[in-house]
Amino acid sequence: MAIKYLSADQLPAFLSSLAEKTRVVAPIKTDGVVQFQPWAAGKDVELDVLLAKQSPKEFVFLQSETFLKFGYSMAPAAEDGEGEAESASESAIPCETVDVEALNEAPAQVIFGLRPCDARGFVQMDNVFGGYGGFYFDPLYSARREATTLLAVTCREPRSTCFCTAIGGCPAGHEGVDALFTQVKDGFAVETFTEKGEAATAFAGLGDASDAQESEAAEVKLQATGKVDVPFALEGIRDNLHDNIGGEGWHDLCMRCISCGTCTYVCPNCYCFSINDELVESTGERYRVWDNCFNPLYTEETSGHNPRAAKSNRFRNRFSHKFWYYPDKYDSLLCSGCGRCIMHCPTRIDIREVLRVMGTPVGTTPAQAIAAPAAECAAESTAAPPALPVEATRAAPASPDGKEA
């Protein structure tokens, strides 16, 4: 695959050419705050600040999304002229009817300037919404996902809160990435990995990269990988979380947690949601909206019984979901090491510390942080995960005979 080059001053023109056909979303700084926003000509794309406040997941997995609209009306009994009403009073009584319409908007869009951890987050959510392993297929997310092209930018200067390499990621990783832009002198080296990436980078201003630019890009990637700390050993965490399920350590770790939803909402791959109905007179809608497992009411049942009334149980659930429950179902972690949860938690709860403490075998003293960074990009050494969409064979359904005895 040939590496191309886009000079930095061509970036606005490149984005404008995309904007002619699709929505373009990019990290933009407004009043000092960097967020992913729809881009328009004249807006500067912010790439010096490593991470936008939130991940771009809200453009594919909308924060609130109406998926059903309905309206009640009274319809007269059928006047089809055939046969007669059983009695005069039956034909005179109008019946309630309800019209239901399903909504699913999936505008084409390109997200430019996200980081490899953000793209990896999408891949992890794809498993859930794409019916991996015989589960249901979610058409709302999937339609938007298929209409989205991800153009990621290599992290030249990872933060101290990054830990992607500890969990199989990389500052130049391309899991879920359609095309990867690596900043080199005066521009970007551009690699494409999918057909979508090819299509999005079919821009006149993209020429072949020179040998010097190629090797500079390789050097940038190597240096970046070396700057990511490895704060814990991934191996064994799943089993140790299982063994530590009743551990007292959860109480100590969550003392300063205020049980809000910040970590889940800024995370590139947390995906739990709620569904609500609203009705005004006779018309209404059903929508889904982000929810989070720290919400004290998350698991509260109508009877008033709440299996996770204790904050420490909710706290345990989130980390266990990411490193044990989800991997058991989807053969992948539910974390990409971006560190946003650490950066934005009002009390800086540190997922690395939680995993280090609760992910060690019961009865062992947790290891101190390993400051030595990974020597090479872990992601490069594993088989490339499938790019989306996959031409999938039909997944084996859950056993139709009910449980195996």
Binding site: G131, Y136, R288, T302, Y325, A395
Partner: protein, 301 residues
């Protein structure tokens, strides 16, 4: 591609009828309910109603089938959905039936329905009881209160296929005589000679002919033989807890003991992440769980 055969689906897959899109119309949207009309509403007890519903689309009604123990999302547009066990006989073709206790927002609205009103249904969902694998064994049903709804379809199935099973025993407890659901069916069950039926109420009262005592106590008095027997229980959480303890005392193994769980649910299709107990979703891995499976899970019931 993971080499364990698991894959992700695409929209094309689903249109082609991939079987995981089994709730709602095939090839479509598992969040889109089927519209059904309430054709009969039965007041079972002061706070439990049984609703018989018929899908408006005749093709859907015709092709609808479910496994005993499966559940469905019954919803009222504008109020919301809740999960209920399907309580019709699996062989019933004319309607789908749910039994609903009035408790909160959605169930209150369901109790306010009249015959002719419209609802939305997404069914069947979840895993049913492994009734095929249980052939040749004795089945012991131990239920209390609204727990009878969770086991009703399975009881009907095993009664319809009675000769496949070595024996059927039903222990059903309620707080008082008027709180038994399915009175009409109980009358039928009492007339059968191929089933052992024990009814019990918490405290004796005039005119009551059957047993008295809390379900776990009566169960221990009955002293059922665990050999070649499957023990299933459902009821209020406290009853389940003590019934499971009683089963252990009587010598039933974890693999022989089953229950069905309830959790706050939203999507019902294993996506929204809410109803998990550890790595298992009650809506797709359950609601049926053996005690052996439950012991692997965090204590978050």
């Amino acid at each position: 591609m993971a080499d364990n055969g698991k894959t992700r689906l695409t929209a094309a897959d689903v249109v082609a009828g991939a079987s995981t899109a089994r709730a709602g119309k095939l090839g479509g949207n598992p969040y889109l309910p089927e519209i059904a009309t309430a054709i009969e509403i039965i007041q079972e007890t002061p706070n439990i109603k049984t609703l018989r519903l018929r899908f408006d689309d005749p093709a859907v009604q015709e092709s609808f089938s479910f496994l005993p123990g499966q559940v469905g999302q019954l919803g009222i547009f504008g109020v919301g959905e809740s999960t209920f066990a399907i309580t019709s006989k699996p062989s019933e073709k004319e309607f789908i039936q749910f039994s609903v206790m009035k408790a909160g927002e959605v169930t209150k609205a369901i109790h306010n329905l009249s015959e002719g009103d419209k609802v939305g249904i997404r069914a069947p969902m979840g895993c049913g009881f492994p009734v095929e694998a249980w052939k040749g064994q004795r089945i012991l049903y131990v239920m209390g209160g609204i727990g009878s709804a969770a086991l009703k379809a399975t009881i009907e199935y095993t009664l319809e296929h009675r000769s496949d099973y070595a024996g059927i025993t039903i222990l059903y407890g309620a707080t008082a005589p008027e709180n038994f659901t399915y009175q009409a069916d109980i009358d039928d069950w009492q007339k059968r000679d191929d089933l052992e039926l024990v009814l019990t109420i918490d405290r004796d009262c005039d005119g009551w002919q059957c047993d008295v005592g809390l379900v776990p106590h009566v169960l221990e008095r009955m002293n059922p033989d665990p050999a070649n027997t499957i023990a299933i229980t459902c009821g209020p959480p406290i009853m389940i807890k003590f019934a499971l303890m009683s089963f252990q005392k009587l010598g039933f193994t974890d693999e022989q003991t089953y229950t069905t769980l309830e959790k706050r649910m939203k999507c019902g299709i294993g996506i929204c992440g809410r109803c998990n107990v550890g790595p298992k979703y009650v809506c797709v891995d359950g609601p049926v769980f053996s005690l052996a499976e439950l012991k692997e899970l965090p204590d978050e019931l």
